[in-house]
Symmetry: C2
Subunit: 319 residues, 2 copies
């Protein structure tokens, strides 16, 4: 089948593409279109075409959603810290571009399976101790707000039969390879990735801050798995909180110490940054995973194993 | 102070205007601008100017939100049944027009107190038995969806200091005077109003259907009261479920019998309409009123008193 991935130059988008092209993919891909604001790197696979596309520009949705597209993974987004700094850009990309894709699906391809990556950042404010899929969404950041607005529209368009939407709310992903990004949770990868490269890392939140994490491997599998669910599996509300695990920054560094030694872990220092600390503290860090697990989504075992997988798969180093 | 009311030709909008102009108003109004898609009727009060305005047309927001407006009551909306039938129109008026008002407030008047009337129709799907202000919003209708999207944007704009938003979610209002409208809950007034005029009324939902109601008097007071709250009263989530009371259609007709006699109540017959029954059944009918009552909002005593107030105030008949 023909599959489209937006945000395909990004860390997760490029891995979703890798996974779709691999033998492990639960979807048989005959044609894969990869787009991002900067053209995704060329791939040595005849099924792949990749090009630069500004999703919020007029005509972009029409160009992407042709009648023969079976599944679209819509990952393109302005990340949390960037959306908080540029309200208009965040809303344009995180909401308006999504809306234009939904409009086009309704017009030309209403059976399109549309997988949307949302975020646990839709939660905020006065939260219960444990979040589940029916906890109220009261975001305290513009990124979560635009994602939550998109969720509502996707759900209603799915109810109306304009598209077949599936919304997965992503925990913070760690360990991300590559450079730091403007997500306010970027440090959650930086405090592991940089020390493993022998570099210092400054953590902007206090060590006792709890995070809700997933590994890249598991979240990529889960994003693709969402497309394989029967269209009625999610019921009247098509958003699901993907499984994650709860860990404090202190516990993350303990795991780093266990896996890579005391010297490596000692490369992390703490310099709280108020804007980041406050935003991160407003994100919930404890979820009830049961609905997602019942639906067949996967979950990581522990953070030490996540670090080991990063060393093995991304750094290509022996353990 | 200068106050603007949108949707001011409507049943609630015109009553909000009446109340603001009355001695009972908790807001001292020196200038009142009333707009609607059809010009609100002229009033014999030098403070009032009224004109027709299509809110989603370019320039409308700029025209309304000048620097000296202290409070805007944004009631203009495409009602539930109409929005369900015309998805694009519903989204344009119920969401895009709201967004353009927020944009303009941010540009020219960020201290504007912006009171937005939302709906208990934001709730739907798999609901807990009792709804409170932190129950997840998973609407099963396009009206509730656009209102919920607007809520998110208003809350975020308020957090960013672009506007001072207050969101009140309205129960179904009964008894509405005047003609039936295209709200799917229009029958909740029709089954009382028409029999009291000696006319037959056909109820499209079964008698055991439970509703969550407010009287026009109480809801108008509550809408205006929202503007008088301190700007931090609502905390990190600026939407409040206005108080209401739970009653079944059967109980409403029992109250009609008590107040107006058996012959009047017998003018109501039942012919279930599936689309309406399903939408109404998806609305919740039991709320925890405690947050709204703690904030000082008012609540009705019982439905028989609501009918009596309608007879006295709208029909101008002795009881």
């Amino acid at each position: 089948m023909k599959v489209v991935v937006t945000g395909a130059s990004g860390f997760l988008g490029s891995r979703v593409a890798d996974y779709l092209l691999s033998d492990q993919s639960p979807i048989t891909v005959t044609e894969l279109v990869l787009v991002d604001i900067q053209a995704p790197p060329k791939r040595n696979d005849p099924r792949v075409s990749s090009f630069a596309l500004e999703l919020s520009a007029p005509g972009s949705a029409e160009q992407l959603i042709t009648k023969n597209v079976a599944v679209m993974f819509h990952l393109a987004a302005i990340v949390s810290g960037h959306a908080e700094a540029d309200f208009d850009l965040g809303l344009r990309v995180n909401f308006d571009a999504t809306r234009s894709l939904l409009d086009e699906a309704r017009r030309t391809n209403p059976s399109l399976i549309f997988v949307f990556t949302s975020t646990v950042g839709v939660f905020g404010g006065n939260l219960p101790e444990v979040i589940n899929d029916l906890t109220a969404v009261t975001p305290q950041n513009s990124y979560g707000t635009a994602k939550a607005m998109s969720e509502l529209l996707i759900n209603d368009c799915s109810r109306k039969g304009f598209v077949d939407g599936r919304i997965v709310r992503l925990p913070t992903v760690s360990v991300r390879a590559g450079a730091a990004n403007r997500a306010v949770t970027s440090f959650a990868s930086g405090i592991i990735r940089e020390p493993l490269n022998g570099e210092r890392s400054v953590c902007p939140v206090p060590p006792e801050q709890k995070l809700w994490l997933t590994s890249p491997e598991v979240v990529v599998k889960n994003i693709v798995y969402a497309a394989t669910l029967p269209d009625d599996a999610l019921g009247p509300w098509r958003a699901v909180n993907l499984p994650g695990f709860r860990v404090s920054v202190h516990e993350m560094l303990q795991a780093l110490k266990v896996v890579a030694g005391e010297k490596v872990a000692a490369l992390v220092s703490f310099e709280p940054v108020e804007l980041i600390s406050n935003m991160v503290a407003s994100f919930p860090a404890k979820f009830d995973n049961s609905r997602a697990l019942d639906l067949g989504f996967a979950v990581d075992k522990n953070f030490a194993d996540v670090i080991r997988a990063y060393i093995r798969n991304d750094l290509k180093r022996p353990l």
